[in-house]
């Protein structure tokens, strides 16, 4: 048996014995408790941070083992990773790994893996979504601190998070590339207020965050003061290229279940699902390639192809599921049903850079086309 196959068998056995039977809460303190407890269990079993370095609490294995873990994780029906652990594990953590100081890594990465901290993202603002570079939240350097004033929005799980990856304007006169800073913002800092927002999918996942003279140590800047645009591009590259790999694998397995549930008397639906199966397989192949190519580095612009394809795929799968089951199936109502997934999937082509931004990146940076008007 190859070492990869042996790894797969061990992962399968551990998951079979340890996957929680209860459904995960969707939001709020119960969600936080569930996510941290499940992450701790994985860490104690040696299954957290498969390809993270050993000195930071990981297993020190390759991306291939990480992929196998995600495959087995989905196969076992383990709790969705589209939860409060997502930012820390998939883009704040990796950003710290490539851009952070040794001290920052040592302080913040092991707690993510051990299920001790939850991270959230603070990039978008009410007036700055796709045009992220126009953000206004101000960070003024005063001695060895930065004093922050402003507002962020669409910060998923900010109400239950411990730490935020926060992008602020620290030089109001400079151009974008020299004007922003990416800082580690503890959520219990005085002057910080969080307001959850209920979405049309029926959950309170997104939050507004208000900063009123919030003082952050200068030592919390990641990647250099006024160099935050470059650091943020690393974060977004992870978010687009590799962060959704586990979710994608899970979604392709859900398509298999839809196919199994689709009666032969519905040939058009079977054909539609078969098309989705092919689409899922192709995106998986593309995503595996991006993940393998970016081992120990930041994914390149082809990550936008993964992000775009995954986002459109998720919408199509949930739409097909709602059409397959109709409104009378019990699983289509409530926070965990397909109705929720269908409505929540509307955000897939918005989060992490809209589908239009991804198409611009693909056109300009992958295909080498002239830059369009902005």
């Amino acid at each position: 048996m190859s070492s990869i196959e042996q790894f797969r068998q061990e992962a399968r056995a551990w998951l079979a014995a340890n996957v929680p039977s209860e459904p995960p809460p969707e939001d709020g303190p119960a969600s936080r408790a569930f996510v941290l407890a499940w992450q701790r269990r994985q860490a104690e079993g040696g299954w957290a941070g498969i390809n993270w370095p050993k000195e930071l609490g990981g297993r020190g294995l390759s991306v291939m083992e990480q992929i196998v873990w995600f495959e087995e994780y989905a196969r076992a029906g383990a709790p969705t990773l589209h939860n409060a652990s997502f930012v820390g594990l998939n883009h704040a953590g990796p950003t710290l790994y490539v851009c952070g100081t040794a001290a920052q890594k040592a302080e913040h990465l092991p707690p993510i893996l051990k299920g001790e901290t939850i991270w959230c993202q603070g990039f978008s603002e009410p007036g700055s979504g796709s045009d992220l570079a126009s953000l206004k939240t101000r960070g003024e350097v005063q001695g060895d601190h930065i004093v922050i004033n402003g507002q962020k929005i669409w910060s998923s799980f900010a109400d239950i998070a411990d730490v935020q990856e926060l992008l602020i304007r620290t030089d109001p006169t400079a151009k974008t590339g020299q004007a922003l800073s990416w800082v580690i913002c503890p959520m219990d800092t005085p002057g910080l207020t969080v307001r959850p927002i209920r979405t049309m999918a029926g959950v309170r996942k997104y939050c507004e965050v208000f900063y009123d003279d919030v003082r952050i140590p200068l030592a919390n800047v990641v990647g250099g003061l006024n160099n935050g645009w470059a650091t943020a591009m690393s974060t977004l590259s992870f978010e687009r290229g590799t962060a959704s790999l586990a979710l994608l694998i899970g979604l392709t397995l859900q398509v298999e279940k839809l196919l199994a549930d689709c009666p032969a008397s519905r040939p058009q639906m079977r054909a539609r699902l078969a098309g989705l199966r092919a689409e899922g397989a192709s995106i998986r192949a593309m995503n595996y390639r991006v993940a393998l190519d970016s081992e120990n580095s930041v994914p390149d612009a082809t990550g936008s192809m993964v992000r775009l394809a995954f986002a459109e795929f998720s919408k199509r799968v949930s739409a097909a599921a709602v059409d397959l089951y109709g409104l009378d199936a019990p699983e289509t109502v409530g926070a965990h049903g397909w109705a929720h997934d269908y409505l929540d999937a509307f955000s897939e082509t918005i989060a992490g850079g809209t589908a239009e931004i991804q198409r611009n990146i693909i056109g300009e940076r992958v295909l080498g086309l002239p830059k369009g008007p902005r």
Binding site: S124, G127, G129, S130, D131, S134, I153, W154, I197, R198, T199, M200, A201, G202, Y206, Q268, M269, K315, A319, V322, D323, G326, L327, D328, V333, G334, A339, H340, Y342, L343, F346, S347, T349, I350, A351, T354, A355, E356, R359, R374
Partner: protein, 306 residues
């Protein structure tokens, strides 16, 4: 089919608009998933607009015009089945709200918690069932309309109706007309947004990527409206099935496009778009969904050979 309103139709719609003046704004309370507009329901019942298809000189087309107009309101009220379906099935005037159902009789149906009568598609016939409020269980759903299911079939008063084709035909026309109104208001909401929201130093609506998709959305809205009106005008099975199939199969892409251009804000209950998205998604699944209407259209148009 003429594309201009007759004097009578223009007069009816002007009267309706006057009546609806107080119902044009979204529910002012804290965000709610849905709330049946009882006030609007009473106003409509008293006005007689929903009985227009029963009046001499008027018919299904006039009812469809009213249904489409009402569906533009950010209010959830049962109108389409009352105005378009009930008159063709012999339901007495004033017996409403009307719920519609296909499939098992204990399946959830829109408006059943409010309904006085349930019209059910039973395959080779239809049933008119008197709804007793105590016999309705409310069903949890995210799709904005109030849903309920019958608790028991024991002892329910029901009348057999042989002309099940009339139920399906009018139901298809009704859902297309309602969808057209919801689509129109959703599009209008987003057009306002992209004209005012700025990104990269200009209004969102100045970007061609956005203009192109909203142009396609406008085509969907217009097409749905005219197909619905044509179906009501001809009252033919093929036109009704085509209108419903078109509306239902376009709903997913249309709602995706509309939400896309209000960004994450469109996902919140503080932005009104969800009011129509919920309803459109519910309409997309009625009578088995778009592919079933498309098969029905093929059958009605070309027969078994298709």
């Amino acid at each position: 089919m003429k594309y201009e309103l007759t004097d009578d139709q223009a007069s009816v719609l002007a009267g309706l608009d006057q009546l609806l003046g107080g119902f044009d704004s979204a529910p002012p309370t804290a965000p709610v998933l849905f709330d049946y507009a009882a006030g609007l329901d009473r106003t409509l019942a008293e006005s007689g607009f929903l009985d227009i298809a029963r009046e001499d000189g008027f018919g299904a087309l006039d009812a469809a015009l009213i249904v489409e107009r009402l569906a533009r309101l950010p209010q959830v009220v049962e109108a389409a089945a009352s105005a378009l379906v009930a008159p063709a099935l012999g339901v007495p005037a004033g017996t409403r709200p009307v719920a519609l159902l296909s499939g098992p009789l204990t399946k959830p149906a829109r408006f059943l918690p409010q309904a006085q009568v349930l019209l059910a598609d039973r395959g080779d016939h239809a049933l008119m069932i008197t709804v007793e409020p105590d016999n309705v269980e409310t069903v949890e759903t995210l799709f904005a309309y109030p849903y309920g299911r019958l608790k028991t079939l024991d002892g329910v008063a029901q009348t057999r109706i042989d002309d099940v084709a009339a139920l399906r035909r009018r139901w298809r026309t009704a859902l297309a007309a309602e969808a057209a109104g919801c689509m129109a208001s959703g599009l209008e909401t987003i057009l306002e947004h992209v004209k005012t929201r700025q990104a990269f130093g200009q209004p969102l609506g100045a970007f061609q990527a956005i203009q192109h998709r909203l142009a396609m959305a406008a085509e969907t809205v217009e097409s749905t409206r005219y197909l619905a009106f044509r179906a009501a005008w001809s009252d033919s099975e093929s036109d009704a099935a085509i209108a419903a199939a078109f509306a239902q199969t376009r709903i997913a892409q249309l709602t995706y496009d509309l939400h896309q251009f209000a960004g994450a804000m469109s996902m919140t209950l503080e932005f009104p778009l969800h009011l129509w998205t919920y309803r459109l998604r519910a309409l997309a699944g009625e009578l088995g969904g778009g592919s079933r209407q498309a098969r029905a259209a093929a059958l009605a148009t070309w027969g078994e050979a298709a």
